[in-house]
């Protein structure tokens, strides 16, 4: 039978029972939408963590013992942390066997409603340009030089307010040299300044600001460590603990462990919901197709008598299933993708972990995958009743 005739027959079958067709379409919509939403959220969260790890560029992050969750929270979600360790630890860490570079960072107070930021909270991070290996290379590549006194580099959401030339904080003027790529984490609303600029700002704020910037003396929040090529980061971490017992070195793959656990938790819940919806939808669709086949069994018997083979009967039901799956699934994937995109900020606030919406290429692959799976499930649910009726003797089908 020609494709056109098969499609025509299928379309008439769909139009012949609108309620059932809507039901199948809605099931396909639900499967596709929940599948795409689940993958988008989890993929986006994992991408974001990966991006943040890459941005930090460290093989090992050394934090004060007991402050791992606080430091991860500060870096990813902007929750303030006051945990610090002595600056002297930096030298000890740098001397450990296998360490190629060790650079300290200091997380300063979060700023609320800062005018220079398109987010309500902003984070200031002080770094040491002499030892830094994360921001400096980016600066050299993009901006063509180091940060001097009074200069800063910002995450994606940091900008100079309209009509101004500088960012004013604590009565101090900072000039913004550039913006880093987005990570979907708190790093996007961080302002990076050198230790020198930070101390200068603190000193001047005592006279110029309503509330002065207080930097604890002789303190750093974390030390970023790059290991020598060929060295085992785990072994280096062990060496660091031996040299400085009051710290906890976090090796790169274990970075943001609490958030990875949280994401896995959300993934499990979403997979449970997805699984339930899929199973229920499959059962409902199988029932609907069985009812449709039973109702049309006489018609099918006539078609068989007129010359339709078993294959044609199965094909016609599968065509119906595919058309409905395509229609419902397409709407489902578009609604899911658009919904996650539009509500991504709310998602981050509600779920409590970072999120980065995938690039167009990944998104297209995801959407295609979601649609294909929805079509497969609908086709499967139509297959069994279709095969059963096709195998029945035409005379039996036509019997009252």
């Amino acid at each position: 039978m020609r494709i056109r005739d098969l499609t025509g027959l299928a379309v008439r079958g769909i139009a012949g029972s609108p309620f059932r067709s809507w039901l199948i379409g809605v099931c396909a919509f639900l499967i596709a939408a929940f599948l795409v939403a689940t993958v988008l959220v989890v993929h986006g969260a994992q991408d974001s963590l990966h991006g943040a790890s890459e941005r930090l560029g460290a093989d090992v992050i050394v934090v004060p013992r007991g402050a791992e969750a606080q430091v991860e929270g500060a870096l990813l979600m902007g929750t303030p942390t006051k945990a610090t360790m002595p600056q002297g630890d930096v030298t000890k860490i740098a001397a450990v066997d296998g360490v190629a570079a060790a650079s300290p960072q200091l997380y300063l107070e979060s700023l609320i409603d800062a005018p220079c930021c398109s987010v309500s909270e902003m984070f200031m991070v002080a770094f040491d340009p002499a030892t830094d290996f994360t921001i400096e290379p980016w600066l050299k590549q993009r901006v063509g030089g180091d940060l001097s006194l009074g200069q800063a580099v910002g995450g994606r959401y940091v900008f100079v307010p309209k009509g101004q030339e500088n960012i004013a904080l604590y009565g101090y003027f900072l000039s913004l040299r550039g913006n880093l790529e987005p990570t979907g984490t708190n790093l996007d609303r961080s302002l990076f300044v050198t230790f020198e600029t930070a101390y200068d700002m603190a000193r001047m704020s005592r006279t110029t600001a309503v509330k002065p910037l207080v930097i604890p003396p002789d303190a750093v929040s974390s030390v970023m460590v790059k290991v020598r090529p060929g060295a085992d980061p785990q072994k280096v971490a062990v060496g660091i603990v031996k040299a400085v017992p009051d710290v906890n070195p976090i090796v790169s793959p274990e970075m943001f462990g609490a958030y990875r656990t949280q994401i896995n938790g959300v993934l499990r819940s979403m997979l449970f919901v997805l699984g339930s919806i899929t199973v229920l939808s499959l059962a409902l669709m199988a029932l609907v197709f069985s009812m449709a086949v039973h109702e049309r069994r006489r018609q099918i018997g006539v078609l068989r008598a007129l010359g339709a083979s078993k294959g044609v009967v199965v094909q016609s039901f599968l065509t119906e299933a595919v058309i409905l799956a395509l229609a419902g699934g397409l709407v489902g994937v578009v609604v899911a993708a658009a919904g996650v995109y539009m509500f991504r900020a709310l998602l981050v606030q509600t779920l409590g972990f970072p999120f980065l919406f995938p690039a167009l290429g990944s998104l297209a692959a995801l959407i295609a995958g979601g649609l294909a799976l929805a079509m497969l499930f609908v086709a499967l649910s139509a297959m069994v009743p279709a095969l059963r009726i096709s195998r029945q003797e035409p005379a039996e089908s036509m019997r009252e």
């Binding site: 039978m1 012949g16 006489r298 006539v302 008598a305 083979s309 003797e393 035409p394 005379a395 009252e400």
Partner: protein, 233 residues
Amino acid sequence: MIALRGITKTYAVPGGQTITALGGVDLEIGRGEFLVITGRSGSGKTTLLNVAAGLAKPTGGSVLVDGTDLWSLSDKERSLIRNRRMGFVFQFPSLLPSLSVLKNVTLPLAFGRNGTEERRARGTELLELVGLADRLTSYPRQLSAGQQQRVVIARALIGRPEIVLADEPSSDLDEQTESEIMELFARIHGETGITILMVTHTKQLVAYGTSHVEMAAGGVLRDRAGSEGAPAE
């Protein structure tokens, strides 16, 4: 044309029992014959027609169409034989409600390789033959029972079949419409010489055929009793 040899057909029913619809039937349907099979309800006449058409598999025996055993072929080949060489008229309304009259008539051609224009021309020609040329775009629900049956007859002839199998084609119709339908069958048989196998419980309709077989209790009671002229080979 169609030879039925030792045909038996049994059905299993809930409770473990079996029902014998046909208990060893031998029958030959000759080319150009208009054979009318009569019998009461449950005599096995409809089952015999279904077996002859390949719509039901016999439990025993063979069905030969011009010497070929129908049940030695694949389902696809059997479907092709039904599509190309047979036409069907059923007792119940068998038109597809979502298709127009013309599309219903040309439906068997959709399983073949005929072009759209060719189908349309042939369909129109047959609807003219059955007196419904003005109802091409109507839908089955807009036709009377008699008109619907005329459309079914046109559909049965669309593929230029060698045999038309009709199962109680006029039982749901009033007397006048019934005789109109039977006149149509007789006219078509007279003009084209097509083979017709018709099953009915109405003995009065035997007169329209060229030969008659009576069935009872799953077997042949009288073979071609009182019919004029021996069936053609």
